[in-house]
Every structure is written in structure tokens, then in C-alpha cells.
Amino acid sequence: MSTSDRIFEVRNLDVSFELNRGASRVVRDVDMDIYREETLGIVGESGSGKSMLASSLLNAVVEPGICSGEVTYYPRNGEPVSVLELSEAELKRFRWEQVAMVFQGAMSSFNPVMRVRTHFRETLQDHNRDIPAGMDRARSLLESVYLDPDRVLSAYPHELSGGMKQRALIALSLILEPEVLVMDEPTAALDLLMQRSIVSLLDELQAEHDLTIIFITHDLPLLTKIADRLTVMYAFGLIESGTVDEILYNSSHPYTRALLAATPDLDVPVDEMHAIEGSKPDPVDRISGCSYHPRCPMADMHCENNDPPMEQISSTHRAACFYHEEAAEAIPLRGDGNNPKQKGAVHE
């Protein structure tokens, strides 16, 4: 992919918090490109730093967090934007008009004493948009997420179910026609059927509005249904990224492989699922060498003393492991080499 397709370029990104017991680095040295109109999935366990990474794309890391490095946004027309250097006024416009966010708690994203209509109206007003035209757009957006515009617009948030609120929030986030939608666990509090329905809706919305979607979750199976590319976070850094097929059928980092093996899945025999040994690291502790070495079955002295760089495995696939070539043999997985898109055969 050429660089002109990039919509975000992240370089040397660090986020840290000063705590009484020491500095806590919750994002460590992240380099990442996001391409226009793709769906990028960021997966990691709770506390791996994925939400902080997402917030820094909008320069929205809360005080007293400190964000350093470079985040460059490439608009469709015009000059690249250095997101971490924007003023408050510039940020306000950037956040809704270029990049919109949807968070997990749709419940807390709405003001409980304001009708849904007022949320749409105020957003349009704040950004000096034409209100009648904007409200027409609101109606068609609500319809496209299978909501009845009349009922939903005149409802208070508590009158809607969780799934309806989350869909209304997605419609609201698109009201100013942003280029990018950042979604942090947008479906975590919802039922399976609703999750799956929202994922299908996002696909449709993306095609219709030429959106770039960044979808953050700990739910790997769900991500494989929506993402084009996946990035895996462990202990506040990126450890592997690639296309969904590369991650599923040819993952090269021992942590990614352990995560895949630990994920409950209907089609995998129960005795092939295993928990990941050990527990995740504390952000205050500085682990020497590879952050995964205390839990890694393949780790040796080299891993304990040296931090592995991201190594290129294919043009789209990178992994931060010295032994990425041996990982498949050491931790066999059901999906290995079984990519149905390449082979035709699905299951043995």
C-alpha cells in the first residue's frame, strides 16, 4: 500500500502517568499506520493500553496523562495535521468533524435529562451546521441502524434499550460526516445477537460513508468478523500486526498464539483450548527484554535481556519476536496453514 493511502501515521507514541509509586507507561513506543477506508482491529486484554492508544489518536488522553511522539492525520484534502500539537479550538473541530468516537457505555455518553433529538441538535449547532438539513440526515442515519426516527428522537435515553442506545450513538457520531470512527469496546455490554447485528450494520455504514473504522476490543472472534487488519497489544506495546488471515492462520508471536488458543470457540474441540499461563504485567514494573518473556514458553536468555524489534514477515505482517519463525512449531494451533481463502479446504 502506498503512503498516500494513509490516514493516520503514529510514530514513537508514549503515554505515561505519574503515580506515587512511580511513572506508569501505559503506551510504549508505538509505531502504526492506519489506511484510509480500512477497518483496523486493535485487540488486547484489559489493561494492555488499547484504550489509551485510541485516545491518543484524538489527543484525548485525560489529565494527568502525558502523551509524546507524533500522531499525523492526513485529511482527504489539505495539509497533514499534527494531532498532538492542535490547540483546544482546533481539537474541538477535529474531534467531531474528522474523527468521531463511540465508547463502551452508551448509557453514559448520553445526557440522561436530554431527549435524543437535543443531542443531535446541539452537536449540529456547536459546529455551525444547517439544522434542518442536519436533522434530515439524523433521520436517515437512524433509519440505517434500524431505528424508528420519530420514536427515538423524542425519547429520553432511559426509554431505549442498551442496543438501541448504542445504535443511536453510532448515528450521532456520524452526524457531522467524519472520516474516521474510533470505537472503544462499542459492543461489550450488549448481547450476542445485538453485537453481531451492529457489526453487520457497521459494514454497511462504512461502505456508504467511506469510513475508516478503528475498532478496539478484547473480543478477538468478533474482530475477525469486521476487521481487515488486526493489531495485537500486549503490555502497552504492539507485538504483532497483519491482515486478519495472517493473524488467524499464520500468527508469529507466541502471545498472539496463546491468545488464540485461550479463546472459547464453538468449532474448536474443547481440549484444544488452553488458558494463558501467568499473569499480565504491572505498568509500573519495567520488564527487561521482551515484555512477554516471563510468560512465554519459548523465552531464553536472549529474550530476557533484549527487547525484540518489530520484524517484517510479509509486506503486511509484522511481529516483535526473535523466534517468530519457530513460534508455529512451538505452539501449534488449529488454524495453522488452514486458511480457507487460500486452500479451499476448511476443516480437517
Binding site: E45, S161, L192, L193, P221, T263, P264, L266, N338
Partner: protein
């Protein structure tokens, strides 16, 4: 399974929550919600029954009714043949006392954070049930028992974890502590109400394995509530248990893992199967919804006929009219509330509602 060899048996249980005229009920309009409707279920010795369904389908209410915490509006709940509410209200005639029943049926909640007192060390919270039920047990003996179980669930050294406050434990550790607390009383049945849902996907297998390991030691049965089919399948398959699917207050299908996952009869079970994302499948998802409506109907205003018909892609005219009863497979184990399970039903000659 006859009710004599089951730990808990529910018969025709219905639970209604009335609008019983609160302060703001000026108009006296009461639309009771039938959270559980006509459910019969036996939970056997050392059995794991998993209960799945969407939020609001009544699975927690059914679970609480099964362990005698929620009183059914009608129907009976029996513990080893003794009616739980008889024992409670009319203790003299009961063959098993209510406190014994209470002791034998335990619960683990979804959020372990709020199940432990934040102002007390873990050891204090865990000692309480033993103090209550075994007041003669010495402190040394009590702590010995707690320490041994903590070691068993991998929280070592136990003293280190037990002397912490809940906020000093991770989510997975808290849930293990809560599981240990339930196990200390050596219960016959544990209601695990979304007990692993708050945990990371990567920790769920570990927690379920732990539950199974403790089952081996204590011969406990579980009623395992989850909204996630892949978790339900994991624990049911590993233990040879059953899966029950709930929709708007009813068990619409129940059977073994094979029957529910690979041979589902009810269109709702099939929709749940569709909604469960799998890692290694062919992913040629036709994005066609197997449901016609995304949202669940209002439980205070249920549809006529089959509860599922407004969302069901297979609905026919008869489904609008008639409420389906329970159809049993030939072996009797696999039960389903859908006309489609009966090859000779008039459904097959009824006209489709939708194309």
C-alpha cells in the same frame, strides 16, 4: 431424569413481577411482567446445566428461583424432593430444614468486585460463611480450610492474597476468591450468574477449568448462566452437561451440546449460533440476519402466539395464533418449543408470514 435423583427440580414454575401500586402508580394500571413462564427443569447430581439467552429473557430470575432466593408465583421448586417454600413457611413438616437448603444452594455473581466487602480483608469476607454455619469451628481450623482451597485455585502463597483488600486483587483473582467462598460450604448446587462475563476473553477458559476442577473435588452441580454460547458450550461439553436456551421467560430449547450446537431445532437457537463469532470458520458470512427484528419485544406486552414469531424468519400464520408447547425428541432429552420440531404439525400446511 426423575425428580428423586435430582438436586433441584422445578415444575411448571412461573414468576411474575407485578406493578403492585407504588407511590407513583396513580392510575392503577398494572402490567405484570412474566419473567419466567411455565418452566420445568431438573438439575441432576454433579450436573452442569447452562442457561443462555439475551438480557431480560428471565435467566437470572429463573436461576434465583432455582436456588430458593426468588419465590415463584406458581409452580414448585424442590430440593431433593422437599419443596423449598414449604420448608420455609411450614418448617415443622419439612424433611429437610430451610436453613439446610439455604446452605446447600449457593450463588456466584457477575461482578466479583461488589460481592466482596471493600473495607475488609479477603480472609475476613471468606471466614463469615464458615462462622455462620459452623460456629464451633476453631479459627485455626477455619483458616486452614481457606488456605488449602486458595492453594487449590492457584492463589499462592495463600496468606499473601488473603490478607489483601479486594481492590488489591485483579478481576480474575477476585472471582476465584468468590468461587472459593461459595465452595467453602460444600454446596450441592452453585448458581453461577454470568460469573465469567466480566473477565477478559483470555481468562474465561481458565476460570471454567477451575470450576470443573472444584466440581471434581466437591461433587457440586452448577447452574451456569451466560449470554455467550461459546462459553456455555465449553463448560457443558467438558462436563457432559446440557444447554438450555431461554427466550422471553421460556426455555425454548434444551438438550446436550450436540443437540443444541449441531442440531438445533428452534430458529432462535440457530440465530444465537449465527451471532456467535468463530475464529476459524470459512467466514463466508452471508450477512443476512437470521432474525427479522433486531430488538426484543416489550416484555410487558408480549406478542400473540409464539413469543418469537415477530423476529422469526420461519414464522407462519399458525405461529401468530397458537403458542407452541414443548415437543420432545424420541429419546426425550432434547426438548423444543417450536412447531417445526413436529413433522406432522399443521404448521407445515400453514401459509408463511414472510417471504
Amino acid at each position: 431424569m426423575s425428580s428423586s435423583d435430582s438436586v433441584v427440580s422445578l415444575e411448571d414454575v412461573t414468576v411474575e413481577f407485578g406493578n403492585d401500586g407504588g407511590v407513583f402508580d396513580f392510575f392503577g394500571e398494572s402490567n405484570p411482567v412474566r419473567a419466567v413462564n411455565d418452566v420445568s427443569l431438573d438439575i441432576g447430581e454433579r450436573e452442569i446445566v447452562t442457561l443462555i439467552g439475551e438480557s431480560g429473557c428471565g435467566k437470572s430470575t429463573l436461576g434465583k428461583t432455582a436456588i430458593g432466593v426468588q419465590k415463584p408465583t406458581s409452580g414448585s421448586v424442590k430440593y431433593r424432593g422437599q419443596d423449598i417454600w414449604e420448608a420455609r413457611n411450614n418448617g415443622k413438616n419439612a424433611s429437610i430444614s430451610f436453613s439446610e437448603i439455604r446452605h446447600a444452594l449457593q450463588i456466584i455473581h457477575q461482578d466479583p468486585g461488589s460481592a466482596l466487602n471493600p473495607n475488609q480483608r479477603v480472609i475476613t469476607s471468606l471466614s463469615l460463611p464458615l462462622k455462620k454455619w459452623n460456629p464451633d469451628m476453631s479459627r485455626e481450623r477455619r483458616e486452614e480450610r481457606i488456605y488449602a482451597l486458595f492453594e487449590r485455585v492457584g492463589m499462592t502463597p495463600p496468606g499473601d492474597f488473603l490478607n489483601r483488600y479486594p481492590h488489591q486483587l485483579s478481576g480474575g483473582e477476585k472471582q476465584r476468591a468468590v468461587l472459593v467462598r461459595a465452595m467453602l460450604l460444600n454446596p450441592d448446587l452453585i448458581l453461577a450468574d454470568e460469573a465469567i462475563s466480566a473477565l477478559d476473553v483470555s481468562l474465561r477458559v481458565e476460570m471454567m477449568d477451575l470450576m470443573l476442577e472444584l466440581q471434581d473435588i466437591f461433587d457440586t452441580s452448577y447452574l451456569f448462566i451466560s449470554h455467550d454460547l461459546s462459553n456455555a458450550r465449553y463448560i457443558a461439553e467438558k462436563s457432559g452437561g446440557r444447554i438450555a436456551v431461554m427466550y422471553l421467560g421460556e426455555i425454548v430449547e434444551i438438550g446436550t451440546v450436540d443437540e443444541i450446537i449441531d442440531n438445533a431445532q428452534h430458529p432462535y437457537t440457530k440465530a444465537l449460533r449465527w451471532a456467535t463469532p468463530n475464529l476459524f470458520d470459512d467466514r463466508d458470512d452471508s450477512d443476512e440476519f437470521p432474525i427479522r427484528e433486531i430488538d426484543v419485544p416489550d416484555p410487558t406486552d408480549l406478542p400473540s402466539g409464539c413469543n418469537f414469531h415477530p423476529r422469526c424468519p420461519e414464522a407462519r400464520e399458525v405461529c401468530q395464533r397458537e403458542h407452541p408447547g414443548v415437543f420432545q425428541s424420541e429419546t426425550g432429552g432434547h426438548q423444543c418449543r417450536c412447531f417445526r420440531a413436529d413433522d406432522s404439525h399443521e404448521y407445515w400446511n400453514s401459509s408463511p408470514l414472510y417471504d
